[in-house]
Structure formats: structure tokens, C-alpha cells
Symmetry: C2
Subunit: 365 residues, 2 copies
Amino acid sequence: MRDEEEGQDRFENRPRQRYGARGEFDFINSIRRQALRRGRKVSSSLIPDTSSLLFGIGDDAAVFEQREGFDTVITTDLLVEEIDFRLTTTRPRPLGHKALAVSLSDIAAMGARPRFALLSIGVPHAVWRSSFLDQFYEGFFALADRYHVALIGGDVSRTPEKIVIDSILIGDAPHHRAVLRRGARPGDHIFVTGELGGSGLGLRLLEDSRYHRLAPHPVIEGAIRRHRRPEPRVHWGAVLGEEGLATSMIDISDGLSSDLAHLCHESRVGAMVDARRIPIDPLVAGLCAKLQLDPLEIALDDGEDFELLFTVHPHNLARLPKRIGEVPATYIGDVTDEPHKIVLYEGARFRRLKPGGFNHFHGKV
Amino acid sequence: MRDEEEGQDRFENRPRQRYGARGEFDFINSIRRQALRRGRKVSSSLIPDTSSLLFGIGDDAAVFEQREGFDTVITTDLLVEEIDFRLTTTRPRPLGHKALAVSLSDIAAMGARPRFALLSIGVPHAVWRSSFLDQFYEGFFALADRYHVALIGGDVSRTPEKIVIDSILIGDAPHHRAVLRRGARPGDHIFVTGELGGSGLGLRLLEDSRYHRLAPHPVIEGAIRRHRRPEPRVHWGAVLGEEGLATSMIDISDGLSSDLAHLCHESRVGAMVDARRIPIDPLVAGLCAKLQLDPLEIALDDGEDFELLFTVHPHNLARLPKRIGEVPATYIGDVTDEPHKIVLYEGARFRRLKPGGFNHFHGKV
């Protein structure tokens, strides 16, 4: 039942009737061939995971083997044109990257290791006839390759007007090792990976060109890149889960203030956060003075950094890596026993930290 | 890590920022509560499957346990307004039914048993404010309950204008028992479940009101219902897979002529089909004379019947059930060793059967 490259095939049963003719048949075949070629590359490396793929693209469904002692983790993310991205400011290759990145971040936030992806995608006729999908899949596959994720299925459809993408990602965690939002306990330390605010600044720069004359081009490009091509913390997530280091975890998609509130709500705890410890992206720190923005506010409330926010029991602090690859984890505060009370302090000044993320991001990425 | 009803929660991390405010929070909570209530109902029955659900709606991803000796089967189906359905002819409850039915049919066509569903759904603001989603989920859950399928996650988003639904379904098959399209061998017998043409006739009636004065109302309603609320052959699929009875299988979504061509293509075989044995829906047989349509053509070429088309090795014919519940399986022909050559005969008359399904269904359900 192992997958083979031969034979014409499709993602799925229905698409052909929608596009008719050769075009879509060829397209799905090309995606299938790419997926298979990459699958072989992966299985010839030392990653054992994809060896359990029994059948990928080309039947009514994909099939993979279950393994005793593991749990399956699955997430789905819907990206809608004009809501989550705009074609005027987003090119197809970074969009392919981002479609997978948001799902990788969800799997990482569960302490799981990504394995298999499916991609449902609907495009209007004009987009279908352009090179959009080729470039989109290039971006998708480039990121998938880095983490040995195999594309095993999906659906391709026409839409009347706008592009829609549903990214489905499946991961593995050792049995009962998946990390939920609800496990934080008073006394746990709170950590965040990487640096915050870069994506939010990038979005501001994308949406308001007045800012552009205020900063050097490479700095602006760097911030925009941070927004367009987020780096999910795949290795951090897998290590925290597999080593049993995190008591709770969430990825920062709405913004630190909002996502910490989610985590505390689920765990029925509160938090004390030291404003001076929050790791602010150097690009943000450097540009904000010129742009008359508050870097702390951006780091707290802007979304889509896709860093991991997690809690660690004091007993495990010594085992926690300082960094994985180039990416540090920074201690920013402590879990308290006052449910829903999240306090931000800066030296002797204290204030309640309210979820502020979604205001800035309403209706768009 | 077992799921609990307590606590506010969400399908996913991002939706809240899109709708803001309480509305969506409440909505996701209500879906979560429904999913949990149904989950309990299922696990209190004698179905052991959902006992391995570790965490459903309410975190970055859902988690379930892997079981040695089983394979996971996963499919995704994208339904787009104006392409796959029209709000003028489709009510939300049957649409919820159909969104799950098409995926159940895919899982059945793999010889697998459905277990877990995820649902990504994007709606414009006006639809969000209506009762559309409540009714949609009612239809979805009513069908899910019948087959003990648990909703374990999804994503809810806004769209600029049209509704989009991605239905994701996960099933189980005993290891190496999933049934692919490629396993048919010369000499195998070809079977189809149920009866064909009802959905196609229903669509014609929906789209052309001239037909309506030609037939009694209950007959028209019956055909339209067959189109709107297809019955996936879940039990047939599971039995054929688990008992190792089918050498190959596909579900009839494009139409018998097209889907038999897919199956023969994948298996590199041909087929001889006896036109007189093709089970035509009695509604079709009854109405076609009045409507001046050829019932055989409808049964061959119209899509979306969601019956199962499968092949059986002669050694296994004695073990094959005649029917499961009310649904028969009918022998319609034989697999031959001439790749791609599919012949239809009626007594002494023979003709090549060309895939005809997608012509009739281009761009709509």
C-alpha cells in the first residue's frame, strides 16, 4: 500500500468536475509528484516519522499508521482573503509559508512534533490561471521541508471571487505528554520564546506608508518580513512536550496580553509579569522612537508573533534549555493563585494587564 | 487531560480577534458544549472509539490516542457557496448534513470507520448574525450522532461575502486494511451499493422548475431530498474494509461512469458493465418518462449519489452480505485485463462507456 509516483491522480474526488479538462488534473499531479519527491527525501534522512505514511495524495483519503504510546494532535486554520491577508500586500510564496506556519505554531504550542499536512484551497478562475498556486506551494513546501512535514492530501476548488485556504496539520506527542493551556499552577515560572512585537510593527509598516520615510529600508524590510514570514517555534514546542518541561503552553497569535489571559483563564490562575523582562524585538525598540510608538505596547498587544508562551514548575527550571538553536526563552514572570488577575509591574509601578490584542488586529492579519 | 465542560473556550486561537466581543466566544462555547454532551452520550454507549479522545475543542489543537494495529484515515472536503451550493436552493440544516456526509462517504470508500470531525467555517457578517450557523450545526450533529462521530475542533472565521466550509474527517481502519482505488484485478466482480440517479434527478428538479408540474409533489420532494441529504454508506464501507472483502473501492461523487474510470485507471484494468443490472433509483425510473430523460444516462453520468463502487475477488463472493440494513449491494459487471477499456453492454449491444459525470455538474452541487 506504499505510495507510488505512477499514475494520474487527484487530491480528492470532486475537484475535477469543477475545473474540468486537463488543467486541474495536471496541477494535482504536479503537487502529488512534489509531495512524493519530498517524501522520499525525508524518508532517506534519519527522521523515522514519515515511514508510517501508507498512502498520501491520490485516493478518497490519506492513510497513516498509528503507533502505540503516541497521541495524535490535529489543528486546522482557515485563512480568508481580505480578512487574513490582502493580495495587495501579500505575495503568494510568503502566503504559502504563513499558511503552514500558523498551523506549525499550533502544533508546537501543544508540545507536539509536526508530521503530516493537508491543504484545502479555493481560488477564483483568474488566480487559477496565474502562477499564484505554484508560488504558494513553493512557499508551503520550503517550510514543510525544514520540519520534515509531508503533504498527504487536501482539496482544490473554485471560488466565485476570493481565495480561501484551510491548513490542516497533524502532529505526534508521546502519550499524555501533549501540553494544554490548563496546566499552569501558582508558583510556576512564565517564559516566552524569541522576541515580541516584530510582526505587529511589520503590519503597521505595511498598512501605513507614512512610516516608510522614517526608517532605513533594511529595517523596514526586516519588520515586514517578520510579519509575512513568521518562524514557528517547532523545536521549542517539541522539546518542551517530549521532556515534560512545560505545565501549560499557548502560542502568541492574538498578542501576549490576550494569550496570557487565555492561558490564565484555562488554568484558573493569575500572573505577575515584569515589564522590564519582556523581550522586545530589537527592530521594534529601534524604530518606535522615530515612529512615536510605545514598544512595550506593541510587544504586549500586537499579535502574530507566533512565539510560545509557557509555564515551568520550579523543579524543572534547571532542566530548561536557555536557548534552542538561536532562539532563547526568557523568564517574564510568575503564576499566582488569583484567578484572572494579571498584573504588569515595572519597578515599583503596578497595573492590571488587560487583553488588548484583538483590537489592533480586527479582521486582518 | 480528559476533556471537561467547564471553562470558557474556543475552537482555536484566532477567531476571537475577528468577530471581537462576546458573540463568537459564546458561539464557540455553545458548539463546545454540544460536542461534549454528545461525546458523553457516545462514550456511555458501547462504542469504544471515542474513549481515546484526550482533548477536543478548546486548545490550540485536539488530541487523541493512537492505537497499535490501526491506521488513521483522513479526508478534507471544501464546500464553497455559489460553487458547491446556493443559498437560494439550500437550507442550512441540510447543508450541515451534507458537509459531513461527503466526508463520511470518503472515509467509507477507504473501508474505514469514522471517528473524529473538525469543521473550519467562514461566514460573512450577515450570516453570522442570523440563525444560519445554529441550524447548520444541528444538521451536522444529527448526522454525526448517527455514526458516533465526535466534533473535536475547527476554526471559525469571517469572510467578505460568501460562505466557505471545510469538513475534515478522521477514521480508523485495522492496519493495512484500508481499501484503495488501485487494488482491482481482472476477474473481480464489480458491485455498487444502493441505487443511482436520485441525486442527479433532484438537482435537475431544483434547477429547472418547468419539471415541477410534471410530477406529484411527494415524488419531487423525494428526489430533491436525495440530492440535499445524501446518505453516506458508512456501515457498508466499514464492513468491506474490516472483513477484507473489497479489493478496491471509490465513492460515487462524480457519477458511475467517471468514478468507475478513476478506479480502473488506478488499478490499470478495464471493466464490462451490464446496463440492465445497474440499480436505478425508483424515483428516477418513475419520473424520467414524464420528463423525457433517459434514466440510464442519469444513473451513469449524474454525480453525488454517494454510493460505494467496489470490486470483490471471486473467492470472497460467498462472504459478501446481500444487504446491510436496508441497503443492498448489486453486482453490475466484471473487471477485465484491458486497461482503460470500459464497456457497457445491454443484451447483445455493446458500447464504450466514457466518463460523463463532470459535464453535468460543472461548478455546482
